[in-house]
């Protein structure tokens, strides 16, 4: 296990200085929109929260964390905060394979296409799309979270944003529950699959959904993706511990203890594999972590996009 103080200080410092946990310039992370036609003005803002775009960097970072956990080198991590963010972030960005970045961008593009095919009107402005700060909240750095959330919300309010479409459970929970509770700022927040109304007879597939803790338990919305898949004639084969009683994939522990994360992951994968069907994730953290097990897993948006 890493010293949580070192990890929290590093992440908090990165977020304070660069507005994201990795210290990577946003221009290197968020590029999916450059090759995708999206309206720049409108009534409802698509707010990705950058979580899917982070997945290749999470994978790269946890690869090194796994390697040095419980070794003498682990304590040297505390000195990494002295490396200028621009250098550390750029090096991490350059070390991360372009293929993985493209895969992450494809997920966001799929979501955009799904919304467009459902005739949902929305607009996108990359300058308004920021990380929600939820990792600081989860790690207990409440002051850091509040400070960052105030920055994000103030920018949205200045731009006149009232309605937001999110794409992942962590950002959805942050904007829907934490921002009103801790900084007194409210938006009308819907996640993308609440808005889609697609039917298809091309389905016939059978899958197993892994409900993320935030969608399944905290936001109690597990019925929504199941209805979406039923409309596409895709059958969900349930496993023990699903919906509100879903089991964690272990992802949240990966920054502090990759060993613990893997232990929890192995147990969850065993449960999910018991159904004998391809596994569908709907959270970037779950998706990245489940992939580490080598199991057959893809994002909900990829399945929907392929079925319509």
């Amino acid at each position: 296990m890493y010293n949580p103080k070192i990890i929290i200080d590093l992440i908090a410092d990165n977020i304070r200085k660069t507005r994201n946990p990795f210290g990577i310039p946003k221009s290197m992370i968020n590029n999916w929109w450059t090759e995708t036609p999206v309206r720049p003005e409108g009534d409802t803002l698509l707010f990705t929260g950058l979580m899917y775009q982070f997945t290749p960097y999470i994978e790269k970072t946890t690869h090194y964390l796994e390697r040095y956990e419980d070794t003498k080198l682990a304590d040297y991590m505390q000195y990494s905060k002295y490396i200028p963010k621009f250098i550390a972030g750029t090096v991490l960005a350059l070390m991360t394979p372009g293929k993985e970045k493209k895969k992450a961008d494809t997920i966001v593009r799929n979501i955009v296409n799904i919304l467009a095919k459902s005739n949902v009107e929305f607009y996108y402005k990359p300058e308004l799309d920021d990380y929600s700060g939820i990792l600081l909240y989860d790690l207990g750095d409440q002051e850091g979270f509040v400070r960052h959330a105030e920055f994000v919300a103030a920018k949205l309010k200045r731009a006149g944003v009232r309605k937001i479409i999110t794409v992942d459970p962590h950002t959805t929970y942050a904007l829907k529950v934490l921002y009103p509770k801790y900084i007194g700022e409210s938006f009308e927040v819907k996640t993308y699959f609440e808005l889609i109304s697609l039917r298809s007879k091309n389905g016939g597939a059978r899958v197993t959904l892994h409900d993320p803790c935030f969608y399944g338990r905290y936001l109690e919305m597990s019925d929504v993706p199941r209805k979406v898949l039923a409309n596409l004639e895709i059958e969900c084969v349930e496993v023990i511990n699903s919906e509100q009683a879903t089991n964690c994939c272990g992802g949240p522990a990966e920054s502090v203890s990759p060993k613990l994360s893997k232990e929890v992951l192995d147990r969850r994968v065993e449960e999910l594999q018991s159904a004998g069907q391809p596994i569908i994730a709907m959270c970037p953290i779950c998706l990245g972590n489940l992939k580490k097990s080598g199991t057959d897993v893809e994002d909900l948006s990829s399945l929907i996009a392929r079925s319509i």
Binding site: M1, G140, Q142, R217, Q244, A245, C248, P252
Partner: protein
């Protein structure tokens, strides 16, 4: 020897820890928690209840093994919100680190 501090639960309230005394230590949370072998989070909640501030500080890093998955809160028969209690303890510890 561990000193107990009856005011400890009060001290924690400003970090959002305000349901610890609702817990009757049944252990449902420890049984459902993915950290199955560590008696977590029940042990930490007991530390709050008896005011074992020093014991908690000695074991503070263990709090970050919590995945914040919410299964304990979902199953708690007393609605004592153990998940939020652990998050509140993390806030308390981070605040202590920053002050020291």
């Amino acid at each position: 020897m561990t000193l107990v501090n009856p005011e400890f639960a009060e001290e924690l309230e400003r970090f959002g820890v305000n349901t610890a005394l609702d817990c009757f230590n049944c252990g449902t949370c420890a049984a459902i928690c993915p950290l199955i072998y560590e008696h977590f989070p029940r042990k930490m909640i007991r530390y709050i209840q008896v005011g074992a501030r020093d014991r908690l500080l000695e074991n503070d890093k263990e709090l970050w093994r919590c995945l914040h998955c919410g299964l304990c809160t979902y199953t708690c028969p007393r609605e004592a919100d153990p998940g939020e209690l652990i998050l509140g303890l993390k806030r308390f510890i981070v605040s202590n680190w920053r002050r020291s």
